[in-house]
């Protein structure tokens, strides 16, 4: 903060005025960039995926983006602040994904699906997975991506949540084959451009129209809630010299939180870039791989999941062996990105919940959420934020189920003081 109040006079003044957390931020940044170089020796596209995941983690931290609160706050008090950001991101990504999918599958009528797109089965598994996920994320206070970036900000309860998610994913791996035979094997993958003979134009138009309707619905909800945000009175900073202008730029990027709409838009662009490099963004696959590795180490390996590798989405991303895989890069990269964001803003702090109930909520919510993420083949990122832009019906059904789960979760947390 001290940095913004005066014009830097030279390197020594700059260093003296630099908050300690910022210095650590620079070290983390260089460390993470160095790791990108190491990873690129395993496979060249790992470096851009890792850097994009870092950018995503930074964006989530800066805009305080939280998919869990986006759904929860609709029901809790009619606020759609983050939901509007999500819609902006989905709209940006829908157009970018369509261009990318067109280059892979120019003629959608033949029934071939673009390989890496998150077009997932539509059916009972989507609904049950979404309900469990929505309920769990509200109980634990954050979804999978939210818990990951809060881990990096120093929220100890989020470490417990991620532990819960790993346990939940483990339970799902052990029961996947039952679900496969019971329902998933018969569930269709509905891709709007091919299934309804709409082509890309129709698919994009329909998806954008759906987003517009959702946007208007949220505005209407908000107008009924009686919420209003007065502008926070802020002293006008002098912006005459280049130094002052740079300092204002620095503080609006690195110190002050970003508006949710900006965060959503940036995440949409990052999603498109990840897909252009290799695959849409998703974080469940890597955690599932991690969970399976732990179970194998404990001699409790799940039997091989039937059909899962043909489904694409997050599960298809957990490919490869060894530490540095595609899913490792897009998932673990969030952590240094969010840590750098938190450190530059001096927002890193180890936070221990004082109420012991919160640990139970983090663990229990995490387990339920993890099971739902495994069943829904993705979380709020893979099965929702990357799935709707893939012009897949599954993303919409998952979103409805998430809303239902979040509604139930809100009823539950109102009863947990």
């Amino acid at each position: 903060m001290e940095l913004t109040n005066e014009t830097p006079k030279g390197l020594s003044t700059l260093l003296r005025n630099m908050p300690r957390q910022s210095m650590i931020a620079v070290l983390v940044l260089f460390g993470a960039l160095g790791l990108a170089v190491v990873m690129s020796r395993t496979e060249s596209i790992l470096a851009p995926l890792w850097l994009l995941a870092m950018a995503a983690g930074f964006t989530l931290q800066r805009s305080r983006f939280c998919f869990a609160s986006a759904f929860r706050d609709l029901f809790l008090f009619g606020s759609s602040r983050i939901m509007k950001g999500i819609i902006v991101g989905l709209a940006v990504a829908t157009i970018g994904f369509a261009i990318n999918m067109y280059s892979q599958v120019p003629f959608p009528g033949f029934g071939v699906l673009p390989g890496e797109a998150n077009i997932l089965p539509v059916g009972l598994s989507t609904i049950v997975g979404g309900l469990l996920f929505g309920f769990g994320m509200v109980i634990s206070g954050g979804c999978v991506s939210g818990s990951l970036y809060r881990m990096a900000e120093g929220y100890v309860a989020s470490w417990v949540s991620v532990g819960g998610i790993l346990i939940g994913l483990g339970f799902l791996s052990q029961t996947w084959n039952w679900w496969w035979q019971f329902t998933i094997s018969r569930e269709p993958m509905l891709w709007i451009p091919s299934k309804f003979s709409l082509g890309y134009g129709g698919g994009v138009t329909l998806t954008l129209a759906g987003l517009l309707i959702a946007f208007l619905l949220f505005l209407w909800l908000e107008s009924r809630s009686g919420l209003s945000v007065a502008d926070i009175p802020r002293k006008k900073e002098p912006d005459d010299t280049l130094g002052q202008k740079l300092s204002i730029l620095w503080s609006s990027v690195f110190l002050r939180g970003w508006p949710a709409v900006v965060g959503g838009g940036v995440l949409g662009v990052i999603g498109v870039l990840m897909y252009m490099v290799h695959m849409p963004w998703g974080v469940t696959g890597e955690l599932a791989r991690f969970s399976n590795t732990i179970m194998s180490t404990l001699n409790f390996a799940p039997s091989e999941a039937i059909g899962l590798s043909d489904l694409g989405g997050c599960s298809g991303q957990s490919d490869g062996t060894g530490l540095f895989t595609h899913s490792f890069a897009v998932t673990v990269g969030l952590l240094p990105g969010a840590l750098v964001g938190a450190l530059f803003a001096s927002e890193f702090k180890l936070r221990f919940p004082r109420n012991p109930k919160r640990y139970a909520q983090a663990l229990g919510g995490g387990i339920i959420m993890g099971y739902g993420a495994g069943l829904g083949i993705g979380c709020t990122v893979g099965a929702f934020f990357s799935s709707i832009p893939s012009l897949s019906i599954s993303g919409w059904l998952f979103a409805f189920a998430l809303s239902g789960g979040a509604f139930l979760g809100v009823q539950a947390i109102k009863r947990i003081a």
Partner: protein, 74 residues
């Protein structure tokens, strides 16, 4: 009235601030101390609903004070 909600994450700080504003019915300030940045977005919109104005102060070390004052002052 002071409300120290450090360590708590969304939605609890907001729910507790709302509860306090409801209980006090504009008879006292509510001073919320938090270390959860999203509260800076969730608590202020609630203020006007219960006839309060708000002020946000940065305490450094990832802590903030949100002072909710009844309309018309104290």
């Amino acid at each position: 009235m002071e409300l120290d909600v450090r360590g708590e994450i969304c939605p609890y700080p907001m729910l507790k601030a709302v509860e306090a504003m409801k209980k006090l019915k504009g008879e006292d300030n509510v001073v919320v101390i938090t270390d959860h940045a999203p509260c800076l977005e969730t608590i202020p919109p609630q203020a006007s609903r219960y006839g309060y104005t708000y002020q946000v102060e940065e305490n450094g070390g990832a802590e903030w004070t949100i002072t909710l004052t009844p309309n018309g002052g104290m």
